[in-house]
Protein backbone atom coordinates (compact mmCIF):
# COMPACT_ATOMS: atom_id res chain seq x y z
CA UNK A 1 0.00 0.00 0.00
CA UNK A 2 2.79 2.34 0.95
CA UNK A 3 4.62 1.45 -2.29
CA UNK A 4 1.53 2.23 -4.43
CA UNK A 5 1.03 5.56 -2.68
CA UNK A 6 4.62 6.57 -3.31
CA UNK A 7 4.38 5.73 -7.03
CA UNK A 8 1.07 7.62 -7.40
CA UNK A 9 2.56 10.65 -5.66
CA UNK A 10 5.57 10.59 -7.95
CA UNK A 11 3.40 10.25 -11.08
CA UNK A 12 1.22 13.21 -10.01
CA UNK A 13 4.29 15.36 -9.38
CA UNK A 14 5.67 14.27 -12.71
CA UNK A 15 2.45 15.16 -14.56
CA UNK A 16 2.25 18.55 -12.81
CA UNK A 17 5.84 19.41 -13.72
CA UNK A 18 5.44 18.38 -17.36
CA UNK A 19 2.15 20.34 -17.47
CA UNK A 20 3.90 23.41 -16.09
CA UNK A 21 6.72 23.21 -18.63
CA UNK A 22 4.18 22.68 -21.41
CA UNK A 23 2.06 25.67 -20.26
CA UNK A 24 5.11 27.97 -20.15
CA UNK A 25 6.10 26.78 -23.61
CA UNK A 26 2.54 27.26 -24.95
CA UNK A 27 2.25 30.82 -23.61
CA UNK A 28 5.68 31.77 -24.94
CA UNK A 29 4.88 30.36 -28.39
CA UNK A 30 1.45 32.03 -28.46
CA UNK A 31 3.14 35.32 -27.57
CA UNK A 32 5.47 34.95 -30.55
CA UNK A 33 2.72 33.89 -32.94
CA UNK A 34 0.46 36.88 -32.20
CA UNK A 35 3.38 39.04 -33.46
CA UNK A 36 3.15 41.83 -30.91
CA UNK A 37 6.88 42.38 -31.34
CA UNK A 38 6.54 42.86 -35.09
CA UNK A 39 3.60 45.24 -34.67
CA UNK A 40 5.58 47.19 -32.09
CA UNK A 41 8.53 47.35 -34.48
CA UNK A 42 6.25 48.65 -37.27
CA UNK A 43 4.83 51.42 -35.05
CA UNK A 44 8.20 52.47 -33.63
CA UNK A 45 9.84 52.65 -37.04
CA UNK A 46 6.90 54.50 -38.59
CA UNK A 47 6.95 57.09 -35.81
CA UNK A 48 10.77 57.47 -35.93
CA UNK A 49 10.63 58.07 -39.71
CA UNK A 50 7.80 60.58 -39.29
CA UNK A 51 9.86 62.43 -36.69
CA UNK A 52 12.93 62.43 -38.96
CA UNK A 53 10.95 63.78 -41.90
CA UNK A 54 8.99 66.40 -39.92
CA UNK A 55 9.72 70.11 -39.90
CA UNK A 56 9.26 72.25 -36.76
CA UNK A 57 5.62 72.82 -35.86
CA UNK A 58 4.39 69.49 -37.14
CA UNK A 59 2.27 67.21 -34.98
CA UNK A 60 0.97 63.74 -35.68
CA UNK A 61 -1.46 61.53 -33.82
CA UNK A 62 -1.25 57.86 -32.95
CA UNK A 63 -4.67 56.41 -32.11
CA UNK A 64 -4.75 54.29 -28.96
CA UNK A 65 -6.87 51.72 -30.78
CA UNK A 66 -4.56 51.22 -33.66
CA UNK A 67 -4.36 48.90 -36.66
CA UNK A 68 -1.29 47.44 -34.96
CA UNK A 69 -3.08 46.80 -31.67
CA UNK A 70 -3.90 48.78 -28.55
CA UNK A 71 -1.18 51.35 -27.87
CA UNK A 72 -0.68 51.77 -24.13
CA UNK A 73 2.22 54.15 -24.02
CA UNK A 74 4.32 56.32 -26.34
CA UNK A 75 7.58 57.62 -24.91
CA UNK A 76 10.45 59.71 -26.25
CA UNK A 77 13.57 58.81 -24.30
CA UNK A 78 17.27 59.18 -25.08
CA UNK A 79 16.70 59.99 -28.75
CA UNK A 80 14.49 56.97 -29.31
CA UNK A 81 10.76 56.24 -29.66
CA UNK A 82 9.39 53.60 -27.29
CA UNK A 83 5.88 52.29 -27.86
CA UNK A 84 4.04 49.73 -25.73
CA UNK A 85 1.65 47.64 -27.82
CA UNK A 86 -0.87 45.18 -26.37
CA UNK A 87 0.96 45.22 -23.02
CA UNK A 88 4.35 44.54 -24.58
CA UNK A 89 6.76 47.14 -23.23
CA UNK A 90 9.51 48.43 -25.43
CA UNK A 91 13.03 47.87 -24.13
CA UNK A 92 15.22 50.04 -26.34
CA UNK A 93 12.82 51.52 -28.91
CA UNK A 94 13.96 52.86 -32.27
CA UNK A 95 16.32 55.84 -32.60
CA UNK A 96 15.61 59.03 -34.55
CA UNK A 97 18.09 61.74 -35.53
CA UNK A 98 16.07 64.88 -36.08
CA UNK A 99 17.80 68.09 -34.91
CA UNK A 100 14.49 69.41 -33.52
CA UNK A 101 12.92 68.92 -30.08
CA UNK A 102 10.41 66.10 -29.86
CA UNK A 103 7.67 65.64 -27.27
CA UNK A 104 4.55 63.54 -26.66
CA UNK A 105 1.26 64.42 -25.05
CA UNK A 106 -1.47 61.98 -24.18
CA UNK A 107 -5.09 62.72 -25.05
CA UNK A 108 -8.21 60.70 -24.37
CA UNK A 109 -8.05 58.47 -27.43
CA UNK A 110 -4.63 59.22 -28.92
CA UNK A 111 -1.02 60.17 -28.37
CA UNK A 112 0.19 63.31 -30.13
CA UNK A 113 3.86 63.56 -31.11
CA UNK A 114 5.06 67.15 -31.49
CA UNK A 115 8.15 68.22 -33.40
CA UNK A 116 9.49 71.72 -32.97
Amino acid sequence: MRKRGAILKMVIIHILLVGFVFAVFLFATADKINARGVRQQVLEKQVALLIDSAVPGMEFAISKVNLNGVVHKVEIKGGAVLISVEGLSSIKGYPYFTPYDVGVREEEDKFVVMVG
Binding site: M10, V42, L49
Partner: protein
Protein backbone atom coordinates in the same frame (compact mmCIF):
# COMPACT_ATOMS: atom_id res chain seq x y z
CA UNK B 1 10.01 0.56 -2.20
CA UNK B 2 13.54 0.66 -0.82
CA UNK B 3 15.62 3.82 -0.64
CA UNK B 4 17.80 2.93 -3.63
CA UNK B 5 14.79 2.41 -5.89
CA UNK B 6 13.31 5.74 -4.76
CA UNK B 7 16.56 7.55 -5.58
CA UNK B 8 16.62 5.87 -9.00
CA UNK B 9 13.04 6.96 -9.74
CA UNK B 10 13.81 10.55 -8.70
CA UNK B 11 16.85 10.64 -10.97
CA UNK B 12 14.74 9.31 -13.87
CA UNK B 13 12.09 11.95 -13.19
CA UNK B 14 14.67 14.77 -13.24
CA UNK B 15 16.04 13.37 -16.49
CA UNK B 16 12.58 13.31 -18.07
CA UNK B 17 11.75 16.87 -16.93
CA UNK B 18 15.05 18.13 -18.34
CA UNK B 19 14.35 16.33 -21.62
CA UNK B 20 10.82 17.81 -21.91
CA UNK B 21 12.15 21.31 -21.10
CA UNK B 22 14.90 20.91 -23.68
CA UNK B 23 12.45 19.88 -26.42
CA UNK B 24 10.11 22.76 -25.46
CA UNK B 25 13.00 25.21 -25.67
CA UNK B 26 14.01 23.95 -29.11
CA UNK B 27 10.44 24.29 -30.44
CA UNK B 28 10.21 27.77 -28.89
CA UNK B 29 13.53 28.80 -30.45
CA UNK B 30 12.50 27.55 -33.89
CA UNK B 31 9.11 29.29 -33.69
CA UNK B 32 10.83 32.52 -32.52
CA UNK B 33 13.11 32.49 -35.57
CA UNK B 34 10.25 31.53 -37.87
CA UNK B 35 7.85 34.23 -36.64
CA UNK B 36 10.46 36.96 -36.20
CA UNK B 37 10.45 39.62 -38.87
CA UNK B 38 12.88 42.45 -39.44
CA UNK B 39 11.62 45.60 -41.14
CA UNK B 40 14.42 47.45 -42.88
CA UNK B 41 14.01 51.24 -43.04
CA UNK B 42 17.68 52.19 -43.36
CA UNK B 43 17.46 53.27 -47.00
CA UNK B 44 14.66 55.68 -46.08
CA UNK B 45 16.63 56.91 -43.07
CA UNK B 46 19.71 57.57 -45.20
CA UNK B 47 17.61 59.62 -47.66
CA UNK B 48 16.12 61.64 -44.78
CA UNK B 49 19.59 62.16 -43.35
CA UNK B 50 20.91 63.46 -46.68
CA UNK B 51 17.98 65.87 -46.90
CA UNK B 52 18.59 67.17 -43.38
CA UNK B 53 22.31 67.67 -43.99
CA UNK B 54 21.70 69.47 -47.31
CA UNK B 55 19.02 71.69 -45.69
CA UNK B 56 21.47 72.50 -42.90
CA UNK B 57 24.58 73.17 -45.02
CA UNK B 58 22.98 74.92 -47.95
CA UNK B 59 19.61 76.37 -46.98
CA UNK B 60 18.06 77.85 -50.12
CA UNK B 61 20.98 76.55 -52.15
CA UNK B 62 23.75 78.68 -50.62
CA UNK B 63 26.68 77.12 -48.74
CA UNK B 64 28.79 79.54 -46.70
CA UNK B 65 31.96 77.51 -46.11
CA UNK B 66 33.56 80.42 -44.26
CA UNK B 67 30.97 80.00 -41.47
CA UNK B 68 32.01 76.40 -40.84
CA UNK B 69 35.20 76.12 -38.78
CA UNK B 70 37.91 73.54 -39.56
CA UNK B 71 36.86 71.51 -36.50
CA UNK B 72 33.19 71.54 -37.45
CA UNK B 73 34.02 70.20 -40.92
CA UNK B 74 34.72 66.79 -39.34
CA UNK B 75 31.72 66.99 -37.00
CA UNK B 76 29.11 67.95 -39.48
CA UNK B 77 26.26 66.08 -37.74
CA UNK B 78 26.94 67.92 -34.49
CA UNK B 79 27.22 71.20 -36.43
CA UNK B 80 23.74 70.56 -37.85
CA UNK B 81 22.36 69.54 -34.44
CA UNK B 82 21.64 66.01 -35.63
CA UNK B 83 21.82 63.37 -32.90
CA UNK B 84 25.10 61.51 -33.10
CA UNK B 85 25.03 57.76 -33.42
CA UNK B 86 27.42 54.95 -34.24
CA UNK B 87 24.96 53.99 -36.97
CA UNK B 88 25.36 57.17 -39.02
CA UNK B 89 28.03 58.28 -41.44
CA UNK B 90 27.77 61.41 -43.59
CA UNK B 91 30.22 62.83 -46.08
CA UNK B 92 29.65 66.01 -48.09
CA UNK B 93 32.10 66.89 -50.85
CA UNK B 94 32.09 70.42 -52.20
CA UNK B 95 33.37 71.15 -55.72
CA UNK B 96 33.91 74.40 -57.59
CA UNK B 97 32.59 74.98 -61.12
CA UNK B 98 35.69 73.34 -62.64
CA UNK B 99 35.03 70.15 -60.68
CA UNK B 100 37.94 70.63 -58.27
CA UNK B 101 37.21 69.42 -54.73
CA UNK B 102 37.48 72.36 -52.37
CA UNK B 103 36.25 70.88 -49.10
CA UNK B 104 35.10 67.65 -47.47
CA UNK B 105 32.70 67.73 -44.54
CA UNK B 106 32.04 64.52 -42.66
CA UNK B 107 31.20 62.76 -39.43
CA UNK B 108 30.73 59.19 -38.31
CA UNK B 109 32.45 55.88 -38.63
CA UNK B 110 34.39 55.96 -41.91
CA UNK B 111 34.61 52.16 -41.77
CA UNK B 112 30.98 52.11 -42.88
CA UNK B 113 32.21 53.01 -46.38
CA UNK B 114 34.25 49.87 -46.93
CA UNK B 115 31.53 47.71 -45.38
CA UNK B 116 29.14 49.23 -47.92
CA UNK B 117 31.69 48.56 -50.71
CA UNK B 118 31.93 44.89 -49.73
CA UNK B 119 28.16 44.49 -49.88
CA UNK B 120 27.95 46.37 -53.17
CA UNK B 121 30.64 44.09 -54.62
CA UNK B 122 28.71 40.96 -53.66
CA UNK B 123 25.33 41.42 -55.27
CA UNK B 124 24.34 37.84 -54.53
CA UNK B 125 24.42 38.46 -50.78
CA UNK B 126 22.58 35.71 -48.97
CA UNK B 127 19.18 36.51 -47.48
CA UNK B 128 20.34 36.07 -43.89
CA UNK B 129 23.07 38.69 -44.36
CA UNK B 130 20.83 41.25 -46.05
CA UNK B 131 19.79 42.81 -42.76
CA UNK B 132 23.41 43.87 -42.22
CA UNK B 133 23.66 45.72 -45.56
CA UNK B 134 23.84 49.41 -44.68
CA UNK B 135 21.28 51.91 -46.00
CA UNK B 136 22.81 54.25 -48.55
CA UNK B 137 21.73 57.52 -50.15
CA UNK B 138 23.56 59.91 -52.41
CA UNK B 139 22.54 63.37 -53.55
CA UNK B 140 24.26 65.86 -55.87
CA UNK B 141 23.14 69.41 -56.56
CA UNK B 142 24.42 72.67 -58.00
CA UNK B 143 24.73 75.33 -55.32
CA UNK B 144 26.12 78.77 -54.68
CA UNK B 145 29.29 78.64 -52.55
CA UNK B 146 30.90 81.33 -50.41
CA UNK B 147 34.55 80.42 -49.82
CA UNK B 148 37.41 82.74 -48.80
CA UNK B 149 35.00 85.67 -49.18
CA UNK B 150 34.38 84.75 -52.84
CA UNK B 151 30.98 83.69 -54.15
CA UNK B 152 30.83 81.25 -57.03
CA UNK B 153 28.70 78.41 -58.31
CA UNK B 154 29.71 74.85 -57.57
CA UNK B 155 28.37 71.46 -56.66
CA UNK B 156 27.76 69.53 -53.48
CA UNK B 157 27.68 65.73 -53.23
CA UNK B 158 26.28 64.30 -50.00
CA UNK B 159 26.46 60.62 -49.14
CA UNK B 160 24.82 59.08 -46.06
CA UNK B 161 25.24 55.58 -44.72
CA UNK B 162 22.97 54.17 -42.01
CA UNK B 163 24.11 50.97 -40.35
CA UNK B 164 22.07 48.32 -38.62
CA UNK B 165 20.78 49.02 -35.11
CA UNK B 166 21.67 45.71 -33.47
Amino acid sequence: MNKRAQTGDSIMMIYQIVLVSFIALIVLGVSSIFYDHYIDVRDVESRLLVRQVVDCLAPEGKLVLDDISAGDRFEILSYCGIAQSDRLYVEAKVYDDTGTEISVLSQGDGGAEWIRDIYMATNNTQERFKKYVPGLANFTSDISIVHDALTFTGRINVEAIVNHEF
